[in-house]
């Protein structure tokens, strides 16, 4: 058993790391050694992606992270610190989003965004992605706010600060770990999301990077340019892997607080 642990663990670790390393290797491999040819083809081929696809993805990620932080901070403050009619009902409905997987309501969201003129727009997509994030984000921020010592808030109130002043100057610094976790989750999922952009975006010039790279596979009936595809995969994966490694601690902590309250 003592020897089993490092041997099995090591073998499994290699197995799990191999595809990631291979993807980077395959994206740099060229017929005569190594180079950036596959990346160049990714951005110049007729069926390839363009700079604006990357920009679209960054826009959606920024809007989703910003919007989620704004709504969840205000909502978490309300749920964690105030008593108001309908509070528990609204909290339960927000958590119910987790029970109704979004794939089943995306058809309706597509129609709904059409009614308000946001079909095929990055803003409409971001609003939907913010909604997906809310159950986790609200839950996380509500617990963060509820854990802040009351004395901190009261002393600021005695000084005559308004509730918004208290939120901005006293509470926000105290809930920073929660904000980091919420932002990280919102970035990772909005940057990589595939199904929602596939349903909600129609014009190729509004495609996110994920959608544009997948399109290289699904829209080509001839030979697939696998090496350029792996270049796309590497470009999409590297920001996520780097962010995760840097913020691993808050990711795991957020995970534990969100996953296990049963």
């Amino acid at each position: 058993m003592k020897i089993l642990h490092p041997v099995t663990g090591g073998a499994l670790a290699v197995l799990f790391l191999f595809p990631l390393l291979w993807s980077g290797y395959a994206s740099l491999r060229t017929p005569d050694g190594f180079g950036l040819e596959n990346y160049a083809r990714l951005f110049t081929d007729d069926s390839g992606i363009r700079g604006y696809h990357v920009l679209n993805s960054l826009t959606v990620a920024a809007l989703t992270v910003g919007g989620t932080l704004l709504v969840a901070t205000l909502g978490g403050y309300a749920f964690g610190r105030f008593e108001f009619p309908g509070r528990d009902a609204l909290f339960l409905v927000t958590l119910a989003i987790l029970m109704v997987p979004y794939a089943t309501i995306l058809i309706a969201l597509y129609v709904l965004l059409g009614w308000i003129g946001l079909q095929d727009s990055l803003l409409g997509l971001s609003l939907v992605l913010i909604m997906f994030q809310l159950p986790f984000a609200i839950f996380m921020m509500r617990n963060s706010f509820a854990a802040v010592p009351r004395e901190l808030e009261e002393s600021a109130q005695v000084d005559g600060a308004s509730s918004l002043g208290v939120l901005l100057r006293v509470m926000l610094p105290a809930v920073r770990p929660g904000l980091v976790t919420v932002a990280l989750f919102a970035f990772l999922s909005s940057w990589s999301e595939f199904f929602a952009p596939l349903i909600l975006l129609n014009s190729t010039d509004r495609f996110t990077m994920t959608l544009a790279v997948v399109n290289m596979r699904t829209a080509t009936f001839g030979a697939i340019d696998y090496a350029a595809l792996e270049a796309g995969v590497t470009l999409m994966a590297v920001p996520c892997l780097l962010l995760f490694m840097v913020l691993q601690r808050s990711y795991v902590r957020g995970f534990m607080s969100g996953a296990l309250r049963g």
Binding site: L12, F16, R87, I105, V214, A227, F255, R261, G262
Partner: protein
Amino acid sequence: MTTTVSRPAVAVRAAPAGPRRRRALTGLLYAAPTAFMVGAFFVVPLGLVAWMSLHRWPLLGVPSLNAPANYTGSTGDTLLTDAAWFTARYTVIITVLLFTTALGMALLVQRKRPGTGLFRTAFFLPAAVGFASASLLFLGLLSAEIGPFGGVVSVSGSATTALGAAILLVLWRFAGFNMLILLTGLQAIPTEVYEAAKLDGAGRWQTFTHITLPLLRATIALVLTLIVTGSLLAFDQFWILTRGGPDNSTTSLVMVIYRKAFIELDLGSAAAVSVVLLIVLVAVSLVQLAVLRDRSAP
């Protein structure tokens, strides 16, 4: 994810009626953006999908009531029934394989030993990559053209190898994620319980079946629910990796929803399939909640 709604420590004491009402108003104001987002983009679409399922709802043009044709009309649709059977079969296979893999990995890295931290990170790292990116990664990895395995597990070879490719992908992408959830449950079991069992002369297997598994019940229910609902909603892995083939053999239910809506341009039928799927998924979640609530049973 499962949560219990416990009341947070709220700063309301025996305050006079005036300030208390003002505080309630302030709370409502701060909760307003949440209420708007949840109302507009969750509650309304939920009602709308049910409403759409009762109508002939073309992608372009005016909807007209046709209930219950969207529900009854699909019964003879072999693509739909085949997809339902395939999705059910896939869900059973993935649930067994993914759960046992994740539990085995969680047990392996449960205790702090040299290398454990490194192993945990390595196992979890695939979960940081988007699922669509992971599907594209495996498309190249398993290809005969540039993959190191020469296309042994071909995504377009036969129905079996295509399904096998998707299973490999899902195990790689989600094993670490589910391991982490199981790990949080394992670590919540007090070490004294294990020590007591050891004193009573319990063996390794006995400890596992009589202590670990029963105390891990809530976490196991959560993980199984996540795996079952995730599998019933399978899309990316088949849309990207196998393209639903060969010969529609790996076409999942959500792919049929997409196809009905945006290829057959029939949003009403797509909504009807969504509603049925939604009811099944909510039922699965309710069973999980029942398991969590029922603390008296072992």
